[in-house]
């Protein structure tokens, strides 16, 4: 449960932060005042109907509350604008949860993702519906907050609830109160289930998309950005003086898996780009941009440190280096890349780093050393990692191609190069470049 509470607190903080960022001082004040009224209500409620289970629950998790409050303390000192806010929230947050444990799920339930302000009326309806169906004070606060700020509520992680409960129970001494608590928890979970379906219905009704970011373990086959049926444009800056071959191989793979719109541009910083390169990534726009899944926009440009990748300028700074772009594309192609076999993934990383650092950017001596270790590897194995062609092979093959040393390599390496060249992606990449 603590898990949920902390997440909830985090969300509330997000809301406040969002509000503050927007300088919607008034809104923030309303939220705060809502909290204080809630706090008052809770006290009254506690006085009127003392609940043994609840109290017990309260005291058991007391440590956790404290840590929560303590946790919020440093952030309090950080926030200049309204220092009381953070403390107030965590406190009322806790109190609201304590006083109305059954209503907790309502507030923390992942309702929706972005609710644009102009859709206020419809989203208000949504919250209103929720509110009436569960009749909780806490929802009201969250609805109001949600209306005013871009408010991302996360899906409750049911598993973590299940995991956490036995833990608490085991730490519990035993006896009646425990059973009471257990039934209560079950009740909570049951209501969670009901709520989930209800939210699902509401989502359909108001056609609001869900944010799935809270479930990384169950990551989908395609990145979330594409799941929504939105066009996902990947921008890569390339310098005409160094052409990353690996990109071509991965581009071929990408085209097999996705509906890719490839376009090539020349940046004003370079004037003389060879005609053969100008349209190298260009499959012609035959339909509207919206109908593609992935855009690959290649820009020939003066780039100092190899290729550069840009996907979302708001989230990232430029990602530099051919192998890092290769890593990105590989993860795009296979979302389980990092979780299938982590030993293999790490070995691939090792070779990919070698390709960039010791070979592409390396001295002649380092290059020779790489060739030696490649030669010994290919004495017994046909591929760098495991028994099939991987990202390690793609990048290594690419840097060897770029160095122009493909003819002057040890026998085993030559054997491997030929094997690479016979792979479908590699051969078409070679054709594209030549």
């Amino acid at each position: 449960m603590g898990n949920i509470f902390s997440r909830l607190r985090q969300e509330v903080q997000d809301v406040v932060r969002n509000c503050r960022a927007r300088e919607e001082e008034e809104d923030v004040k309303t939220i705060i005042s809502n909290y204080s009224t809630l706090e008052r209500d809770r006290r009254k409620c506690a006085e009127k109907s003392p609940n043994v289970h609840l109290q017990r629950f309260d005291s058991d998790t007391g440590e956790e509350w404290k840590s929560l409050i303590n946790f919020s303390a440093p952030s309090r000192s950080l926030s200049h604008s309204s220092p009381c806010m953070e403390g107030g929230i965590s406190k009322s947050d806790i109190s609201s949860l304590c006083s109305t444990p059954l209503n907790v799920p309502v507030s923390q339930y992942s309702l929706t993702a972005n609710i644009p302000s102009s859709r206020e009326s419809s989203s208000y309806n949504l919250f209103h519906d929720l509110n009436t169906s569960f009749g909780s004070d806490s929802t009201e606060i969250f609805t109001k907050a949600g209306l005013r700020a871009r408010y991302t509520l996360l899906c409750p992680d049911k598993e973590s609830i299940h995991e956490n409960i036995p833990e608490k129970q085991s730490s519990e001494e035993s006896g009646d109160p425990l059973k009471g608590l257990e039934t209560r928890q079950d009740e909570v979970l049951k209501r969670l289930g009901v709520l989930q379906s209800r939210v699902g219905q509401l989502q359909e009704k108001y056609s609001i998309s869900t944010c799935t970011s809270s479930t990384p373990s169950k990551s989908a086959v395609v990145p979330t950005a594409m799941e929504k049926g939105k066009f996902h444009d990947i921008v890569i800056y390339l310098d005409p003086s160094s052409i990353p071959y690996s990109l071509f191989v991965l581009y071929e793979d990408l085209r097999k898996q996705f509906n890719v719109l490839a376009t090539t541009h020349v940046h004003s910083s370079v004037l003389d780009v060879p005609g053969s390169l100008i349209n190298i990534f260009n499959n012609g726009e035959v339909k509207s941009r919206k109908d593609y899944q992935i855009g690959l926009t290649v820009i020939w440009k003066k780039v100092n440190n190899g290729a550069v990748l840009m996907v979302d300028p708001y989230k990232q700074s430029a990602i530099e280096g051919e192998v890092n772009i290769a890593r990105y594309l590989q993860r795009l192609l296979n979302s389980q890349y990092d979780s299938q076999d982590i030993i293999e993934a790490t070995q691939i990383d090792e070779w990919v780093d070698t390709a960039q650092i010791q070979y592409l950017d390396g001295s002649n001596k380092e290059r020779a050393a790489v060739l030696r270790s490649l030669n010994s590897r290919f004495g017994k194995n046909s591929w760098l990692v495991g028994d099939r062609c991987s990202l390690a092979d793609i990048t290594m093959w690419s840097v060897l191609q770029q160095s122009g040393q493909v003819t002057d390599v040890p026998a085993n390496v030559k054997k491997w190069l030929t094997a690479c060249n016979n792979q479908p992606g590699f051969s078409s990449a070679l054709k594209l470049v030549s």
Partner: protein
């Protein structure tokens, strides 16, 4: 010389007319003294003059008014052509006296001609007398002078002038047209980079009030040369693509778009309007089978907006084109047009752009070829992921436009891009809706440094459909009858757009105000000069 005599005479004249009785005696005494002194000075001067006049009198002075009395067989060199190759040659040059500074037996001055300038030097010698130096030093700044002299190479580069490797050792100096001694603004101040040090700069209104002086700065010289380049490149590219230049009327009987923001003029016994855009005429030319047309001309907007980018009269560069099957054919032509203009400027105006950036520093303009084209919905997606709340079919506000410009620059590293497929609801009635989804339209905007510079669309060329759309927009169909009728006798599918020349140049150079790129700007508060 005359100038030398006057002070002496004045002293006598003034003192010879005593005004108060008390100081009469004293004054008389002083006057006598002064008279003696003056006499002495005169004698001395006459002595020196007789000496100097002998050898320098013919080498300086004021020309009589040039009334084309005679043809003078003399070649005037351009300052720009004065290079070390002409070293030790005697040449004539005409220019403005930019600055002058005399010390003792020497006088340094700078002759400026448009954006070029050269340092000249007068020093007492065989052909130059002290009086001549005095005369040269007393010429008012900005006067036009003819100077003869020897071109000499210099050891140390003259950093203040455009001709850094040579100077002119002057032997003759004649004033062709004198300037008033008091200038409303100093050219040097007007050329200074703003916010640099304590030195004076000129405020924008003073500049515009005295535009002819402001235009003399090298920066202004460069700006309007680049502007001419924009127009030329526009014409050249479109002409090479088979476009025909047309001229459309500026006095029109009915407001072309909607009716708001038009200037009314009296037209004999009735009223007429100044054209807000040549669009209707461009479209009629297309219906008249010109296939591809463009026009360069004044456009009037009676918008009372006092911003950095609005003018009430500006130069519109408009084009319209019939296409075969898809309006992207037109979009590609416009995209390439811009690339060709940007490239042309980058290649042909390196020096001018550098001069402008010296006074108004800005990042060089970056662009992609072919131009980047994004869908409107993609733009909205980018804005949303940057935390902007907006509907997919909501119009872009000016701050959002700017933010989008920055996001696109960060992602694609280009200052120019095309945003395609705008929401139908935010476009005029004659915009062709998207064939698959009525939410969108076949319309586009183009942006430079995050500001909109072109707005265009595929136009509806079917009179019935046009009528239907007009009704949906609750437009009085009878008022736009002439427009709709233009499509009655068969009309090719077509699309186009219009650019504001001043705005394009302002954004290309990264200037902060469109008035800097309009020769004599017209805005709600300015009708003169």
């Amino acid at each position: 010389m005359e100038t030398e005599k006057t002070p002496g005479e004045e002293v006598i004249g003034l003192d010879g007319k005593p005004t108060s009785k008390k100081g009469l005696k004293k004054q008389q005494k002083e006057a006598e003294k002064a008279a003696k002194k003056a006499e002495k000075q005169q004698q001395q001067q006459q002595q020196t003059e007789t000496e100097s006049e002998d050898y320098a009198k013919e080498n300086y002075g004021n020309y009589p008014l040039i009334q084309s009395a005679s043809k003078v067989d003399r070649k005037l060199q351009k300052v720009s052509q004065l290079t070390p190759e002409l070293s030790n040659q005697k040449i004539w040059v005409r220019g403005r006296l930019h600055t002058s500074r005399s010390k003792g037996k020497q006088c340094f001055f700078v002759i400026r001609q448009q954006k070029w300038s050269i340092q000249a030097l007068l020093s007492v010698g065989d052909k130059v007398s002290k009086q001549m130096i005095k005369f040269a030093a007393s010429i008012n700044k900005e006067s036009i002078v003819d100077v003869e002299g020897l071109v000499k190479t210099v050891h140390k580069k003259v950093e203040a002038c455009s001709q850094k490797d040579v100077e002119l050792h002057a032997e003759q100096i004649w004033v062709v047209s004198s300037a008033e001694p008091q200038l409303p603004l100093q050219i040097e101040d007007a050329s200074r980079r703003e916010g640099e040090g304590e030195l004076a700069t000129v405020n924008p209104d003073t500049r515009l009030d005295n535009r002819i002086l402001d235009l003399r700065t090298t920066t202004s010289q460069a700006i309007y040369r680049i502007e001419a380049g924009v127009c030329r490149l526009f014409r050249d590219y479109l002409t090479s693509e088979g476009f025909v230049e047309i001229h459309t009327p500026k006095i029109i009987s009915a407001a072309s778009e909607g009716g708001a923001n038009v200037f009314t003029v009296s037209y004999f016994k009735t009223q007429a309007y100044l054209a807000q855009s040549p669009q209707l005429y461009k479209q009629m030319a297309i219906c008249g089978d010109f296939d591809r047309v463009f026009t360069v001309g004044a456009v009037f907007r009676a918008e009372d907006s006092n911003t950095h980018r609005h003018l009430t009269e500006f130069v519109g560069l408009d084009m319209e084109m019939a296409f075969s099957y898809h309006y992207h054919e037109v979009l590609d032509v416009i995209g390439n047009l811009f690339c060709s203009i940007f490239k042309g400027l980058q290649q042909n105006f390196v020096e001018e752009i550098e001069l402008v950036h010296k006074q108004y520093p800005a990042e060089p303009f970056k662009f992609l070829e072919p131009s980047l084209r994004l869908d409107y919905s993609e733009g909205v997606q980018m804005l949303r992921s940057a935390g902007i709340e907006m509907e997919e079919d909501e119009d872009l506000s000016t701050p959002n436009e700017k933010l989008l410009g920055r996001l696109v620059k960060a992602k694609y590293d280009t200052d120019f891009f095309i945003l395609d497929k705008f929401p139908l609801a935010v476009r005029p009635f004659y915009t062709m809706p998207d064939p698959n989804n009525k939410k969108w339209s076949n319309s586009y905007d183009m942006f430079m440094r995050g500001e909109e510079i072109l707005s265009g669309a595929q136009r509806i060329h079917d009179p019935k459909f046009l009528m239907e759309r007009a009704k949906e927009h609750e437009i009085d169909v009878s008022k736009i009858k002439a427009y709709i009728d233009a499509f009655k006798y068969g009309a090719p599918p077509h699309a186009g757009g219009g650019i504001g020349m001043e705005r394009v140049l302002m954004l290309y150079l990264g200037l902060d105000n469109v008035r800097k790129t309009s020769l004599f700007p017209r805005d709600p508060k300015r009708l003169t000069p």
